[in-house]
Amino acid sequence: MIEIGKFVRGLRLAAVLAAGLAISACANQNTAGDGSGGAGGSASTPGSQQDFVVNVGDRVFFETDQTELNATGRETLEKQAQWLTRYSQYSFTIEGHADERGTREYNIALGARRAQSVRDYLVSRGINAGRMRTISYGKERPVAVCNDISCWSQNRRAVTVLSGGGA
């Protein structure tokens, strides 16, 4: 029994390592596939879109079926609010997303709630509501495409996408 237990633990460890690899693979994909990496100068150019994505962080994540911001998310949004206050020429869209574990209709509503949470937070930090719009993609636009928890956690997100007014 003990031997079998060790063997199972070994397998678990391997699974965790594999999941870690999957995360980094997915993360690499994000910058290419999410439309956030393109124009807007390099990350070292203050006030550029790249600056926002790389140095501030354009997205916050949510727990399963939750729409409340967690501490990490509030920290990211605090930085977003400061940056958006400083670079007030940008308007932006907050995209709300869900993972695939939910029905299409419910996830559209869930993504909308997540976008609304971010919107409310940024407004509470003094960002003009007229600069932002929200949209929900439900489970239709995953950034991580594997079929397990490592990807689902990346897909439950709200992304602040800058538009217009860039330097």
Partner: protein, 448 residues
């Protein structure tokens, strides 16, 4: 029901009984009908033995009609087999070759191979270019004709003729309306998961005749049939907010439903086709609204700090079932079609989503979610009798066949979604062939 434009010669599609005439008359004289002796398949019970049925190739009225006759027979056989209620007998076992569909068959030859029902028929191209399709349904052991009809239509309607005959056989032998002469609108999916291209598509219920209704430029979701016209409603992402649209599937004409201050989604028609009910996103909340398509007047039906979505009318149009998380998790509620107090009806394990009311009115089908598994299930409108028909990762989005006996849904194990059907008894799960990945099916009413 005005459904003629897809089949412009529908008006030419006529049917009449062929019980009269020398053959049938002689037969009736031969075997007087006896009460209680009629062949009938009882499909409401849990366990159905598929009825052995013989479907010899229909006779070609002229040598040029042989191929279409064989094709029509093949479609009928496929329909009946897929229903799970019939077991078409291998033609290699047949001893009598049907050369004249008017003649009384040699019943002894069909009893030997245990055929309980026998279908004979003939397709004949007419002088005016139309097809004449005739069939007779025989009770082999009673030795009598159960049904006989003939139809006239244009040659391009040969598939529909096969479906209409399939429905006639199904109805005569089960006592229930059929569902074969119907179509399915769905979302065709191509490309990788993070850049999926989705197009609206329509096909016959057996997967034949796929036609694309949108080009894939815009993300499209949840198409639903208008019960009375050649129209669908669906959600689409364009340049502005995602909206509920109407699309005429014949003309391609498209319009936005209503002028709402925000995203609208999860649309469905009322049974009379005059109204569209849907969700409107308002801040963090989704509420139900209905719009009258003629007056364009909109009415709010729910006003809660919750997600209210996936509404579906009862077939009499008096009630609405919908999904709400007002109690903490998504569950099914029923309320009057005019709004007002809503009653929760789902109390089984886990959450219950995407309720859809059967056209028969007896059940509501749903997507269930518990312990990481997604099920297709049914319950009665009063919440009793909940049953899960199939479970796994990941089943979603049931839609009823026109007779309420079969559900279609989609399943995505992770590699992408496909369409399936299952009886409301939980038996006879079948994959529906589609050209590519497919999701969000919606079954049409019977076309005729």
């Amino acid at each position: 029901m005005a459904r003629s434009s897809e089949f412009p010669h529908d008006s030419l599609l006529t049917r009449r009984g062929v019980m009269a005439g020398a053959g049938a008359g002689a037969l009736l004289a031969l075997t007087p009908r006896q009460a209680g002796a009629v062949l009938r398949l009882e499909i409401t019970s849990g366990n159905v033995q598929p009825m052995p049925i013989a479907l010899p190739d229909f006779v070609g009225g002229t040598p040029g009609d042989t191929e279409v006759s064989r094709n029509v027979t093949g479609i009928i056989s496929n329909n009946l087999q897929r229903s799970g209620l019939f077991a078409p007998i291998n033609p290699a076992a047949f001893t009598e070759k049907i050369v004249n569909s008017d003649a009384v068959p040699r019943f002894a030859d069909w009893r030997v191979i245990n055929a309980q029902a026998l279908v004979t028929g003939r397709i004949t191209k007419q002088g005016d270019g139309r097809l004449k399709a005739e069939f007779r349904l025989w009770d082999v052991f009673a030795g009598q004709q159960l049904d006989g009809k003939q139809y006239f239509t244009t040659p391009d309607n040969w598939r529909r003729i096969a479906h209409i005959i399939s429905d006639a056989i199904y109805e005569r032998l089960t006592g229930e309306k059929g569902y074969f002469d119907s179509r399915v609108v769905f979302v065709d999916e191509t490309g990788p998961k993070d850049r999926r291209v989705k197009r609206l598509a329509i096909m016959d219920q057996d997967g034949a005749g796929v036609r694309y209704l949108t080009r894939g430029d815009d993300l499209v979701l949840t198409p639903r049939f208008n019960p009375t016209t050649q129209e669908i409603t669906y959600m689409s992402y364009g340049q502005a907010d995602p909206r509920v649209y109407l699309l005429n599937i014949e003309t391609g004409q498209r319009e936005i439903v209503g002028n709402f201050p925000g995203m609208t989604f999860a649309p469905r028609f009322s049974p009379d086709g005059q109204r569209v009910i849907m969700s409107l996103q308002q801040g963090p909340n989704s509420n139900l609204f209905v719009m009258d398509l003629r007056s364009k007047q909109t009415t709010r039906l729910t006003d809660t700090p919750a997600i209210d979505t996936a509404p579906s009318y009862s077939p009499d149009g008096r009630q609405i079932c919908f999904e709400s998380d007002r109690g903490g998790s998504p569950q099914i509620y029923v309320m009057p079609a005019t709004g007002g107090a809503a009653q929760r009806i789902s109390f089984g394990e886990g959450s219950h989503s995407t309720p859809v009311w059967s056209p028969r009115g007896d059940y509501i089908a749903f997507t269930g979610q518990a312990r990481g598994q997604f099920s297709i299930g049914i319950l009665k409108p009063d919440g009793q009798g909940e049953r899960l028909l199939t479970s796994g990762f990941h089943n979603e989005g049931p839609t009823f066949a026109p007779n309420g006996r079969v559900l279609m849904f989609f399943r995505d194990p992770g590699q992408g979604p496909s369409l399936y059907t299952i009886d409301i008894t939980g038996r006879n799960e079948q994959r529906v062939q589609t050209p590519a990945l497919a999701s969000d099916p919606a079954w049409s009413p019977l076309l005729s």
